[in-house]
Subunit: 333 residues, 2 copies
């Protein structure tokens, strides 16, 4: 068994399966702001453990959005005493949110695909090559030699599809499609799952998107767009929280735009800046200048000040990046 | 060899491959309003024929949109005399558009997946179980025992992805994902292809979408939305043709909407009505009442009259369908 600096054991697939067969009671935890992958992977594990006669429950730090009802059923409570605690798709203990107080420091196994996993658990099965934790979970369930039933297949497919933008993003591999093909052997109704996950938008979100696009600002020869999401817009439409996540996607979908900026108002003088970039631009490097961080194509920062101050700050950082990239060519403001 | 009423030979996969190996010069035709599947399948065939030393060219009735440049290169002209003419993904001779005059009645082989194919060709390889013609073309190329190279893989993947909404729709099967997995073995950059195909929107289209959504009308307790795309909107934004196809997709993406209607102005008193429905509604049945037709979830009709007349007509047909479905419950107008 490999042990790293933090004292966390790095489990192989075989060790992970042995662990899941050894105990009798499992408490499965998801991360806060639950998405299709954390829920799909957690419930797939839950159904697989049920199949081999184990007692298990799924705990989510927040109310599970209704749209996941087709696989995310209420599970019976499992007592903490003597139970094994397994965190699924949770890269950092902080992401346990409301569950952290009870379970922090008590995670016996973490199953994840985030390369950024902080190795907080006693044991970790990490597959950073997996497009979704659901991909790693498929391997585990297959190796457990458990019957996959329709609902398990739906849960796993949901994880695969949601973490890859329905097989659209660069994390997809040959293996991702092979697993999807395997899951199509079950009564999946993938088209209906995809409709729920990707193609359903509320009237209020449509309204908000319209307001945001009307207020869109193009900068630097249209290579950069800035989308402001003010408190007024959020209040007028009633949109909030995870509903607003799609706005950043719009910012990077406009033809010719290399750097998409979304500036979302949190408080009167506090804004969440989200950046989406295409090569050669590094969203993470730009956001670090504002005290934030993230990935090369998607990053963010929280900035204090008025909207015009925040805009000036982020556009300044973007201007520097553009000047570096196009040294010698002209940029407007 | 099976011969049907129209005198069209229904080819097996084996016969299709034999035909493609037998001749030396091929003219490959795509349909008008070219999409990713007709272009991807046609070019994949072109590259495969090249691999085995055949002369071939691809002819498209319209200018090929720039975004397909990564696989759709200009091909050398092949003389009609002595050449075999192959139509790819062309369900009806009418869809040959500007190429019909020269090639109508001279199609020796048609390769297609549309169940609605009118059997106009001398020989037809039809696989209605295929999600895209590209899926059928993959089978053909595999059976030809030809090396698939990177550009062929890109062309085939483009066909698969575009005809399935990136693996989102109900036409996707286990086989579709298996073929996608095979294509991932090549230097594909599928994420970049998907960005070009799905996530890139022009500023003018964004502007048009805003105008359309501002003019959106909700009917029958929000179970129906009507999106008008007037000539003024098209002129003001400069959007036209295939660019407008995405509007119908928006109409069916609004939460709670069962019937999405897009009414696009063609002439002063001529409108193209597009319907998108969810069960239990049959778009095709509703459109037949207006003299049109199509599939159960997507259909259309061309209607003459003023915008308000056209709206009244289509909303009347929708009202009847709603009354049938919800017999006894109330509907507004």
């Amino acid at each position: 068994m490999m042990k790293n600096n933090s004292g966390c054991n790095l489990f192989t697939l075989k060790q992970t399966v042995a662990y899941l067969k050894k105990h009798n009671n499992y408490i499965i935890l998801t991360h806060a702001s639950p998405d299709g992958d954390t829920l799909g992977s957690a419930y797939a594990l839950y159904y697989a453990l049920n199949e081999i006669g184990k007692t298990a429950c799924v705990l989510c730090p927040e109310l599970i959005p209704q749209k996941y009802n087709y696989f995310a059923r209420k599970t019976d409570h499992v007592h903490m005493e003597g139970a094994s605690v397994v965190a699924v798709d949770v890269a950092d203990e902080v992401l346990l949110g409301a569950l952290r107080e009870e379970f922090g420091g008590k995670i016996q196994l973490c199953i994840d695909h985030h390369i950024s996993n902080t190795h907080y658990a006693e044991n970790l099965y990490l597959d950073p090559s997996a497009a979704a934790t659901a991909e790693a979970m498929f391997d585990i369930i297959e190796r457990m030699n458990v019957n996959i039933n329709d609902i398990t297949a739906k849960a796993l497919y949901t994880g695969l599809a949601t973490d890859t933008g329905c097989f659209k993003y660069s994390n997809v591999t040959e293996k991702t499609h092979r697993i999807a093909a395997e899951l199509y052997k079950y009564n999946l109704d993938a088209a209906e799952i995809n409709r729920l996950m990707f193609d359903t938008k509320s009237k209020r979100l449509l309204k908000l998107e319209q307001m945001v696009l009307t207020a869109a600002e193009f900068h630097f020869d249209d290579r950069c767009v800035l989308l402001p999401v003010t408190s007024e817009m959020q209040e007028e439409t009633g949109c909030s929280g995870t509903e607003l996540e799609g706005i950043a996607v719009i910012s990077r979908s406009i033809e010719g735009v290399k750097i998409g900026i979304t500036v979302k108002q949190i408080e009167k003088e506090e804004f969440k800046v989200s950046l989406r970039t295409y090569p050669p631009f590094d969203a993470s490097a730009i956001c670090r200048k504002l005290g934030g961080g993230g990935h090369i194509a998607a990053a963010g920062a929280t900035v204090n000040g008025s909207l015009s101050q925040v805009k000036k700050l982020i556009l300044g950082a973007v201007k520097s990046a553009l000047e570096e990239a196009y040294a010698g060519s002209s940029t407007d403001q």
